[in-house]
Symmetry: C2
Subunit: 347 residues, 2 copies
C-alpha cells in the first residue's frame, strides 16, 4: 500500500493506532503524566505547576505555498502562526519555538533572513521566542516549526462536544481563502495583482493571519471545554471535532460570518469560501447555549453562533455536518461550491 | 549570496545573530526565563520546579541516510536517538517527542510503520513518548523529531571549558563511522555485506546508537559543567566546544578509545574513524582533572581522559584542536586520514 492510496490522514490514523495503543512499546514517561496525545491540536502534559503544550507544523514549497502567493517575510509569519493557532485552540499561551529549515543549496541567503524577520515579528507580537533549530540540505525547501506553550487551566479539547451545545466561531471566515483565490486568479490570467481596499485586506488575511490567542484565553476562562482552530476549512474541521466527540452538527449558512470586504470582492462565492476555505485560524468551539451566547461579544470581530451540535443518529453518523439555508433546506458541496441539492427532474 | 556559498553553518550563524541579538523583535517570553538559546545542544528555560529542554533534528533521504545503509526500523531509532543524545549532553532526561514526516506519495505505508516501530522501541528503552506530529506531502522523504526534556540540575554547556580542564569522553569512538564505511564498501564493490562479529558490531553501532543519558546524569551529579555530544566527529565537535568556550585543546591520539572490534576490522584506519567519524553519540566533556579522573570508571565502557584544555594563545586561536602522538608530534588531517605532517623533503 502506498501513501497516495490512503493519503496523509490515512497514514496518520494508522500511526496513531500504533502510538496510542502503546502495544508496541511507547511508554508513558516517568515524571509528567500525559493529558492529551495524538488526535488534538497539541499534545498536553501536566507539570508541577501547570500544563505544557507541544505542537508542530510544516510548510513544503510547491505543496503548502508558492513564492508568488507568499513572500518570504510572510512565509516566516505563517510558519509560526499555524502553530500559535494550535496552542491558542487549547486555551494556551505560546512560549518557545525551534525552526527546522530544509534548504536547497541554491537558496538565496537573503530570502531566509527575510523569512526570519517575519518569524521575529510574529514572535514579538505574541510574546514567544525563537530559541534555535536545525538547518539541513534538502532538494526541496521546507520549514518546520515546533512550538511549546503553557496553559493555566485544563486544555480545550475536540472530544468534549455534546448534543445541544451551541457551535461558535471567534471571527470572520473565508478571508484567507479569498486572498489566495485573488492571487491565483491574477496568476492564471498573468495579469497584475488586484488592487483596492478589499484586495489588500484579503491578501493580508492570507499572508498574515492572526492566531486567536486572546479568544482562546477568554473561552478557557469562561468555562468552555471544546475547541479547535479552523485551519483546513470550517465544515472539514467541524467534522473532525464532531468525529472526535462522537456527535454531529448543523450549521446555519446565513449565520456564518464573512467580512464585508470578502462579500464585496466575491459576492457569489463568499459562502463557499467561508465554509470550505482554510487557514482562517479563528477558533471553532461548542458549549451550552447559555454560556456561548453571552461570550460572543467578548471575542473578536465577526465572532458568532453558527449552529448546533446534535446526536449522531439525527444526521446519520458521528462526524456528519449539515449546512442549512434559512428555510432549513440542506446545502451540498458540488464542483467546489456549496449549493442546494440539484433537482435532477430530467430523469 | 547562495546557501551553498556559505554552507548550513554559515546560514545558522547569520540567523543566530538575528535571533540572539533580539534587535529585530524576538522577545523573551513572559513566564519562563530562557537559560540557554541557540548555540548549544538544546534550548533550556527555567520552569517553576526545574528546567525544560527543547531540541530538534532532521534526516533527509539521500542527504543523511540511504535505504541501503539504514533500514526503516533503524531509521526510526536514529531519528529519535540523535535528539535524545542532545538532551543527554545537557544532563537531561527525554520526555516527549513530535514526529514530522515529509512523504512522497509513492512511499510504502508498511515502511513508515516499520520506522515507527523503531521509534517506539527507542521510546520504551529511554522512557520517552511519541505524542503526535504532522505528516505532509513532499517530493523528498524527510523525518524531523522535536523533543522536550527535563533537567533537575543546571544544564551542561559548551561554553564553560577552562584552560587546565581535562577532556573526557563517555565511550568508544569511531564505531558508527566504521559500520558506515563497511556498508559503503560493500555497496561500491556490489558485494554482499561483510559478516562476522566485528561487522555485526559496527553495523549495529551505526544503526542503533545508544544515547548516553546515564552518562549525562552522572556528569551532572558529579559537578561537571561542560559537555556536548559527539555527533559530527570528535575533532570537529571538540573544536565547536572550544570555540564556544574561547579556549583550545590538545588530544593524545593514543588515549582516544576505540573498540577492539573496530581495531580488528580497520587496523589502519581506526584512529581516523575515531577522530573524524560522526554519530557516535558519546558525550565529550571537560572539568578539573581531579574531578574528571575519578569519574571515568562510573561512565560507560570505553570512557577515557583523552586530552587537556589550553589557552587559545597556546595553539594559535580559540577553537583550535591539536592531535598529538606519543612523542608529542602533531598529527594532521590529509586525504581524509590523520597522519604526521608530510615531510616534503623532495622540494
Amino acid at each position: 500500500m502506498l501513501v497516495r492510496e490512503i493519503g496523509e490522514f490515512g497514514v496518520i490514523e494508522r500511526l496513531n493506532r500504533m502510538v496510542v495503543g502503546r502495544g508496541e512499546g511507547n511508554e508513558a514517561v516517568r515524571a509528567f503524566p500525559l493529558l492529551v496525545d495524538t488526535g488534538d491540536d497539541t499534545a498536553v502534559w501536566q507539570t508541577g505547576e501547570g500544563r505544557e503544550l507541544f505542537t508542530t507544523d510544516t510548510m513544503v514549497e510547491g505543496v503548502h505555498f508558492t513564492r508568488k502567493t507568499t513572500p518570504w517575510r510572510e512565509l516566516g509569519w505563517k510558519a509560526i502562526a499555524s502553530n500559535i493557532s494550535d496552542v491558542a485552540s487549547m486555551g494556551g499561551l505560546p512560549t518557545y519555538a525551534l525552526i527546522t529549515l530544509g534548504l536547497p543549496p541554491e537558496t538565496m541567503v537573503s530570502h531566509i533572513e527575510e523569512m526570519y524577520r517575519g518569524m521575529l515579528e510574529i514572535g514579538a507580537e505574541y510574546g514567544m521566542g525563537v530559541v534555535g533549530g536545525d538547518i539541513v540540505r534538502s532538494p526541496v525547501f521546507f520549514v518546520t516549526t515546533a512550538l511549546t506553550g503553557v496553559a493555566q487551566r485544563p486544555p480545550l479539547l475536540r472530544s468534549t462536544a455534546r448534543p445541544g451545545d451551541a457551535v461558535g466561531v471567534s471571527g470572520w471566515l473565508g478571508s484567507s481563502a479569498g486572498g489566495l483565490r485573488l492571487m491565483l486568479n491574477s496568476e492564471i490570467a498573468e495579469g497584475p495583482d488586484a488592487t483596492g481596499e478589499a484586495a489588500d485586506f484579503l491578501r493580508n488575511a492570507h499572508r498574515r493571519p492572526a492566531p486567536a490567542v486572546q479568544a482562546g484565553q477568554v473561552l478557557s476562562q469562561k468555562g468552555i471545554e471544546t475547541a479547535m482552530d479552523v485551519s483546513d476549512g470550517l465544515v472539514d474541521d467541524l467534522g473532525k471535532l464532531c468525529a472526535a466527540s462522537g456527535v454531529a452538527a448543523r450549521i446555519n449558512a446565513s449565520a456564518v460570518p464573512t467580512h464585508p470586504l470578502l462579500r464585496h470582492q466575491f459576492p457569489d462565492e463568499c459562502l463557499s469560501l467561508a465554509l470550505g476555505g482554510g487557514e482562517d485560524y479563528v477558533l471553532l468551539f461548542t458549549g451550552p447555549p447559555g454560556v456561548v451566547g453571552p461570550l460572543i461579544p467578548q471575542l473578536g470581530e465577526g465572532s458568532a453562533v453558527i449552529g448546533t451540535v446534535v446526536s449522531p443518529e439525527e444526521l446519520g453518523g458521528a462526524g456528519r455536518v449539515a449546512v442549512l439555508d434559512d428555510t432549513g433546506r440542506e446545502l451540498s458541496l458540488s464542483g467546489g461550491g456549496w449549493d442546494h441539492f440539484e433537482q435532477t427532474g430530467a430523469h
